[in-house]
């Protein structure tokens, strides 16, 4: 229980997660008593204060090189197991803290307008504030247990918020699905924790990270399913299963699109900017482990690349405005994982940060549209909305170009960095495949983003006349966060790239020793060397840029000029179109291979094994019936006739005598 205080103020650090928690408790427990205004005021104050403190800590850490590592609390002690709860504050943590609290603040303000008049108004605020607390615990913690605690807590609030409108059947199913699929990931995570504790004898980052190198030097292996596996690989793969669940990577991605059943503010906060990026954060945080397992890194790249590509293809044809963005989120998370897999962790976190701003912006803009359209989400029933909602239109445009990757907007810098890192790093077919997936992904991203954008704001006017009557720009509480995030989506990339130096390497680079990369792996070193010779117009020479431009051009052509083409093309490949519309039929597959068998087995074990064999077969037929039958026979023996008893006695005496004689 040593609490070392290095520079940073402990109370300030504790306040950062505590404020949202207190706010959540107040508005959650006393929401019935507080007025709407008071309850949102408390939560907004809590989170905004937490954001300001985070920015303060960020400045201290980034510009004055402060840090913190210490424990506050002992959670579990037993034998050699000691689980402290503490914080580890370094550059990686503060980047996450600022991202989380800033986006959360925007979403809190946005919610005032969006959820106005909802029956569960203060409950909603309590949930999102409590979510912010959980997310902060997740990123600020200093051990695998705090990570897991935050991990499960964000999962809980994600579940509660997806199912927020609990009278909606689809929302309830989606909430349950999200929780259960995440739990499949947690299964891996938990095993990872068990293994970490077993092999390192500790669960806090500092001790484990310190022990890894010695561990690698000894090259300790274990046997898993009769295969010899390096322990580090086993741990990393198990933990990565957890990351796949939380960050919606194939094949555990199925819950994220369905989570769009929840209110839009939380889609922005939880299912775009923060919670789903927890997996990426985990891999970056645990870079000292992942760096020593080539197999795990390659797995991360492959899974990320498959997700990036596959979800982009699905995004091409979706008609629900939120689902398009949701698949885009899956896909962009794939980019981040690829970055981590090729050891360009800082590029991954950089993209995480820029993505948080522009994707939250896109979601909130979509929410603004949905709000104005009286909860219509189908882009086929929109069009020409730019006339009615100019602020939403412009901010959404900024979000769209940032996502598509057009300089100087945020997405370009980080995405470009990832793709260059993949090109530089050589991991055989793995990186070749990833390069292909990511570059074609850029094209598709640009296309589906602008398809959605044009169908919503341009194209022909297909809005229902009833709805059109009251179409209007959203109130200030909605447009203000849009503007703030639009600023972030515009400048976060430039700021991160040039001012903070997130693309840099080594100790003097932004993340410093918060991220560990073995020199042999580091693709950013090569990039840095290249970058010195680059001019500012270097991007004109890169393939991804032209892919993005091409995607936008194609979307412009198909949805602004020749608006009949999309239907024609879909009719040319009906099978493919349907396949993509059905999201590659993952849900159907899981129904067949998991859900139905589990139910059948459960039913079988209950009806046949429990009730049939154990109860009826063994207990009733085998024991009870025999006892009853035996009792009946015994009853029959008591006939009351003296002759029967005498006969039995004679036989008995005779047998006894025989026995005694034979024995003698």
């Amino acid at each position: 229980m040593t609490t070392e205080i290095l520079d940073l103020n402990v109370n300030e650090l504790l306040l950062i997660p505590a404020l949202p928690l207190i706010a959540a408790l107040i508005s959650g427990l006393f929401g019935w008593f507080l007025k709407e205004k008071l309850s949102h005021l408390i939560c907004i104050l809590g989170v905004v204060a937490s954001a300001i403190l985070s920015v303060h800590v960020f400045c201290q850490v980034v510009y004055f090189d402060m840090s913190f590592y210490g424990n506050f609390w002992t959670w579990i002690v037993s034998d050699t197991l000691n689980v402290p709860i503490g914080m580890m504050i370094d550059k990686l943590t503060v980047t996450m803290m600022v991202t989380v609290t800033v986006v959360s603040s925007c979403v809190h303000i946005y919610t005032v307008g969006y959820m106005h008049g909802d029956k569960g108004y203060s409950r909603f605020f309590a949930y999102i504030s409590a979510f912010t607390f959980s997310m902060l615990v997740l990123v600020m913690g200093n051990s695998f247990f705090t990570l897991f605690f935050g991990w499960e807590a964000v999962g809980l609030f994600s579940y509660l918020l997806i199912g927020f409108w609990f009278t909606k059947e689809s929302a309830n199913v989606a909430a349950m699905k999200a929780f259960i699929v995440n739990r499949v990931g947690d299964f891996g995570f938990a095993i990872g924790i068990l293994a970490v504790w077993y092999y390192f004898g500790s669960v806090d980052y500092a001790t484990v990270f310190l022990a890894v190198k010695g561990f690698v030097a000894q090259d300790i292996h274990m046997y898993f399913a009769n295969m010899e596996v390096s322990v580090i690989t086993f741990i990393c793969l198990a933990l990565f299963v957890g990351a796949m669940g939380k960050s919606a990577q194939v094949p555990l991605h199925v819950w994220l699109p369905d989570s769009m059943e929840g209110p839009t503010p939380i889609s922005a906060l939880i299912h775009a900017a923060t919670m789903v990026t927890a997996g990426v954060f985990m891999v970056a945080r645990l870079s000292p482990l992942f760096e020593f397992s080539e197999v795990a890194l390659a797995t991360v790249v492959v899974v990320g690349a498959i997700t990036a590509w596959m979800c982009a293809t699905i995004g091409l044809v979706q008609n629900d405005i939120k689902r398009v963005i949701a698949y885009s989120t899956c896909s962009q998370l794939g980019y981040m994982f690829v970055a981590c897999g090729v050891s360009a962790y800082s590029a991954g976190i950089f993209h995480l940060m820029t993505h948080a701003y522009f994707k939250a912006l896109l979601f909130l803009a979509a929410g603004s549209v949905i709000h104005a359209m009286m909860h219509e989400q189908d882009i086929r029933k929109m069009g020409q909305l730019r006339k009615y909602m100019p602020i939403t239109y412009f901010t959404c445009l900024i979000g769209a170009v940032a996502l598509a990757g057009i300089p100087p907007f945020a997405g370009f810098w980080s995405k470009d960095l990832i793709i260059e890192a993949v090109q530089v790093r050589d991991m055989g077919w793995v990186t070749s495949f990833a390069e292909f997936a990511l570059i074609t992904g850029v094209f598709m991203t640009a296309f589906y983003t602008f398809r959605m954008f044009y169908l919503t704001f341009h194209n022909s006017d297909r809005v229902d006349p009833q709805v059109k009557k009251q179409l209007h720009e959203s109130p200030a509480s909605i447009s203000l966060p849009l503007i703030i995030l639009a600023i972030g989506a515009t400048f976060a990339g430039l700021w991160g790239y040039y001012s903070l130096g997130m693309a840099g390497t080594g100790a003097e680079a932004f993340f410093g020793d918060a991220i560990f990369v073995t020199d042999a792996h580091n693709p950013l070193i090569t990039l840095e060397a290249h970058a010195a010779s680059h001019h500012w117009y270097h991007f004109l020479l890169t393939l991804p840029f032209w892919c993005a431009v091409g995607g936008i051009a194609l979307a412009t052509f198909m949805y602004l000029k020749k608006t009949k083409y999309p239907a024609k093309i879909a009719a040319m490949f009906p099978w493919l179109h349907q396949f993509l519309l059905d999201k590659w039929r993952w849900d159907e597959l899981y129904q067949i291979i998991f859900v139905q068998p589990a139910r059948c087995i459960g039913q079988f074990l209950w009806q046949k094994a429990d009730l049939g064999i154990i109860d009826k077969g063994i207990i009733h037929k085998g024991v009870v019936d025999h006892i009853l039958a035996g009792a009946a026979k015994m009853r029959a023996m008591q006939t009351g006739l003296l002759s029967h008893y005498a006969f039995a006695m004679v036989i008995g005496v005779f047998s006894l005598l025989t026995y005694l004689i034979l024995k003698a």
């Binding site: 002992t74 959670w75 579990i76 002690v77 037993s78 034998d79 050699t80 197991l81 247990f145 897991f148 605690f149 499960e152 807590a153 809980l156 579940y159 509660l160 199912g163 609990f166 009278t167 059947e169 309830n172 199913v173 909430a175 349950m176 929780f179 259960i180 739990r183 499949v184 947690d186 299964f187 938990a190 095993i191 924790i193 068990l194 293994a195 504790w197 077993y198 274990m222 046997y223 589990a598 139910r599 087995i601 459960g602 039913q603 074990l605 209950w606 094994a609 429990d610 009730l611 154990i614 109860d615 063994i618 207990i619």
Partner: protein, 516 residues
């Protein structure tokens, strides 16, 4: 007398017999239902307060029995009235006395016929339960163990549901058959040792053959109580037919008696047999965790679902018990206590709904949250505790069992225990499946039918009945250290007993008797 017991007061006897004496007085003196209820409630509260002395004055630095009382009972057979607690039994006495208060509160309104009889039965039940956990003489233990069946039998048989007769007989016969074998084992050990003291049994070096037979006899008694697959089928029936408070005490305390038996008898008295049977216990525990979870998922009756979920969670307890590591053993104990809160609370939740709808069928519900928002929040908390979310007491127990299993010595199982831990971890997924699916079908959604529409939210009595359980689940989830502190020394001692063989000394003893 234990020096640490400064009051030098027979606290254990008092907490055992106060409910019984009160029951007698209530029977003799009170007739008005209201008076009976309040008198019972006061008795349970006072009993609880008395038991808190055990907690406050407990010495965590010794594994020796504390608060001992020892008097000769039946001299000719050397049977003593010997009471005492250590870190393993003490928490269960508190658990019992606490749950009894909650049970009585829960019964305040829903028991309408023969209130007096019900309350008396419950007080007698409390007496026997506290007796089981504090007895140090095996005959005294056996007396309480068997005596417990009678009030429980009456509670289910008279105040139970439609099928109560079938359920009670099944419950009675199952547990009786097991207990009879345990009695045989106790007599056999008396034959060897000349004593009925549990501590003497622990000290005596039984040879391997004896240990095997004794272990099997105990196994029959304890496995039925836990219950372990395949002798578990009495539990869902008993639960579904029992009145709410009956289910609460059944899940909260009665099931723990089986697991407690393993800890008090099997491990220290027959360590070599316990080690020998590790594969069996591990196998049955994993069956409980995986098989029973799948069965739980398919249940249409809420009580039956929670009952199956109890069996699955008890799988963690038996698994942790037979891993022979400190962490797993402590995890098993934490799990037992935690399950006492969580399962009890879930049965109370079902009871609250049953009082309003008179149905346990999931299909009869839907959208309860619309009419009972506070209740929905309370049940959510316990549902999440049931899936062992961190922050709930169950997480501490389960993760400790898993960690302890992962690190366990493979020599007993004959293969790597890592696989066992990994299979047990599947519970993370399965418990979420059955718990959340039920929660979704019952609580969420549109208002299912007119009767749900009529439901009223928790009243004050019901709300305050949940508050202590909520507090305890969270307290143990965030700050389990006080309870772990109580466990450490006793568990370490138990582990030492369980891992050191008795066979060397047994062989030595046999040899020396031969020499004579």
């Amino acid at each position: 007398m234990d020096l640490h017991n400064v009051l030098n007061f027979p606290i254990l006897s008092l907490s055992i017999f106060l409910p019984a004496v009160a029951a007698l007085l209530i029977w003799a003196m009170l007739d008005d239902d209201k008076h009976v209820k309040w008198a019972t409630l006061i008795t349970t509260v006072v009993t609880f307060l008395i038991t808190t002395v055990l907690w406050c004055r407990f010495n965590t630095t010794t594994h020796h029995m504390q608060f001992e009382e020892n008097y000769s009972w039946i001299e000719s057979f050397n049977i003593n009235y010997h009471l005492g607690v250590d870190g393993i039994s003490m928490p269960f006495i508190l658990l019992t006395s606490l749950l009894c208060i909650i049970c009585i509160i829960s019964a305040f309104r829903c028991i309408t016929k023969n209130v007096k009889g019900y309350m008396i039965a419950f007080l007698l039940l409390e007496t026997t339960l506290i007796g089981v956990f504090s007895a140090l003489d095996s005959m005294l233990f056996y007396f309480f163990w068997e005596a417990m069946l009678i009030p429980m039998y009456i509670i289910i048989g008279i105040w139970g549901g439609k099928n109560r007769v079938y359920a009670t007989i099944k419950f009675f016969l199952y547990t009786l058959v097991g207990s009879v074998l345990m009695l045989l084992a106790l007599l056999a050990m008396h034959y060897k040792t000349g004593s009925f003291e549990i501590l003497d049994f622990m000290a005596y070096a039984f040879n391997f053959e004896w240990q095997i037979w004794i272990w099997l006899a105990f196994f029959a008694a304890f496995a039925v109580k836990v219950p372990m697959w395949p002798v578990h089928t009495w539990l869902p029936d008993a639960h579904t037919e029992a009145p709410t408070a009956g289910s609460v005490i059944l899940a909260g305390v009665l099931l723990k008696m089986g697991a407690y038996g393993f800890l008090r008898f099997s491990l220290p008295i027959t360590p070599d047999a316990s080690q020998y049977f590790v594969p069996l216990m591990v196998g049955l525990s994993l069956v409980a965790i995986v098989y029973i979870s799948l069965v739980a998922m398919m249940q249409r009756d809420m009580k039956r679902l929670v009952a199956y979920s109890s069996i699955a969670h008890m799988g963690f307890v038996t698994l942790g018990t037979f891993m022979f590591t400190q962490i797993a053993l402590e995890g098993a104990l934490i799990n037992m206590i935690s399950h006492g809160f969580v399962a009890a609370a879930l049965f109370l939740c079902v009871g609250v709904m049953y009082d309003r709808m008179h149905s346990r069928d999931i299909g009869d519900y839907g959208g309860v949250a619309n009419r009972m928002p506070v209740f929905a929040a309370v049940m959510l908390l316990f549902a999440m505790a049931n899936v062992a979310l961190p922050g709930a007491s169950s997480f501490i127990g389960e993760i400790m069992v898993l960690i302890g299993t992962f690190q366990a010595d493979p020599q007993y199982l004959g293969m790597s225990t890592k696989w066992v831990a990994i299979i047990a971890t599947i519970s993370i997924v399965l418990s979420a499946c059955y718990t959340l699916w039920m929660y979704k079908r019952v609580i969420m959604g549109k208002i299912g039918n007119d009767r749900v529409d009529q439901m009223q939210d928790l009243d004050k009595r019901e709300f305050w009945m949940f508050v202590p359980l909520i507090a305890l689940v969270l307290w143990m989830g965030f700050y389990p250290l006080p309870i772990l502190d109580i466990l450490h020394t006793s568990v370490a001692h138990l582990l030492e007993q369980a891992t050191s063989t008795k066979l060397d000394t047994a062989a030595l003893a046999a040899h020396s008797s031969m020499a004579h």
